[in-house]
Symmetry: C2
Subunit: 199 residues, 2 copies
DNA sequence: GCACAACACTGAACGATGTTCAATATAATT
DNA sequence: AATTATATTGAACATCGTTCAGTGTTGTGC
């Protein structure tokens, strides 16, 4: 064997990420393995390690793409809305809808742990930060006169809260709690918090 | 080798669970392996499989004990308080404090996934349900006249929200968001939600 | 005190995992 | 055509969860 330049490094990288996403979407993150992934793109394990540092690195790239997609989806959902309250509620709803549509991908974003003491790279942290920033921006019109500290905290509280609902919903623990509609629950959390926050 | 009745099955079970808890607390759940665990209690792998169905089963037992400890801790924290608002805020605070004190154990409760389509046993679901129930009970005095449906939903929203903070805090993503105090954030989430909910 | 049955326990074996790297086959260059 | 450079391989290693035929220990009945 040993073909040469059938695909550039970039092409292989893209093929691998797409194959990984397909595997994860269809069978969950536990089904992802180096050999399976390699054979899915018609290469062998060794080649994967030319393109990615290791599987942790590959998963980080997959998660980055998931975060990008959610971010894009949220901006899209925001576009047609004007009312500040509607806009911020929409952030929560589109988050939940996204996680519901891609549960395995979303699980992976929060299940995946780097080896201890090894921090995610800055570019990845920025993608996470961007989510909180989105909420902060939408919160501003509703928090007239509040300091930026208060807005940061409120955004973190809202985002964390919606995130918690998300996690529990994916792992089916909200059924146990007697919740019938996850979207209603999200609405309850956000609107009541905002009522309290805005005053 | 092949000792007989040095320890009863129950004793071995207890030893294994304690050793597992020690390993998890000190090195995180990734450090847990059947061989390591077996040698920690002076037995071999085979013996573990006499006492537990498999590692998933063992982890479920560990998680059950973690849930029990948190539940007990919450009841303890509640005991000296009378004011309904104080009591419910305390639930959130003691939850966060517990997760902060035992991050690896708490991570495991939410990272661990059974094989797809395999549900956790009823006794385990009950332990989860009990947490929500605790919040519902404390919510009742604050929700005079509200239907049990509304209380259930509010409890789920509060618990999910605090849980979300918990998860993000453990995975260090709240630092990224510019949050300085997790306990303050929890207080913000709960008190603002309650302000909105109670009216 | 002895044989035997019942049981506790072992550890080699299996297939899978992530990761490495000497060997090899192909392309580019001379 | 010969040589160099490099893209790709796949066998090898340590480790994983899990199984189960075999071995050693104990309690029972004679």
């Amino acid at each position: 064997m040993a073909r040469r330049s059938d695909h550039s490094r970039e092409e292989i990288r893209e093929m691998a990420l797409e194959a990984a996403e397909k595997l994860i979407a269809e069978e969950g993150s536990k089904a992802l393995s180096a050999r399976k992934l390699a054979s899915a793109i018609g290469y062998t394990v060794g080649t994967l390690y030319l393109v990615f540092e290791n599987l942790d690195d590959l998963i980080l790239q997959v998660n980055a793409r998931t975060l990008d997609r959610l971010h894009a989806r949220m901006l899209e959902a925001l576009a047609p809305l004007d009312d500040p309250t509607e806009r911020i509620l929409m952030l929560g709803h589109s988050y939940i809808a996204f996680a519901d549509a891609h549960p395995h991908h979303w699980e992976l974003v929060f299940e995946h742990r780097l080896p201890p003491e090894k921090e995610p790279p800055q570019w990845y942290k920025d993608k996470v930060r961007r989510m909180f920033a989105l909420v902060e921006t939408e919160l501003e019109p509703l928090a007239a006169g509040r300091g930026s500290k208060a807005i940061t905290q409120a955004a973190a509280a809202l985002w964390s809260g919606v995130h918690g609902i998300c996690i529990l919903a994916i792992s089916k623990q909200l059924d146990v709690a007697g919740v019938d509609s996850v979207q209603d629950l999200t609405h309850s959390l956000m609107s009541n918090y905002l009522k309290g926050f805005v005053g």
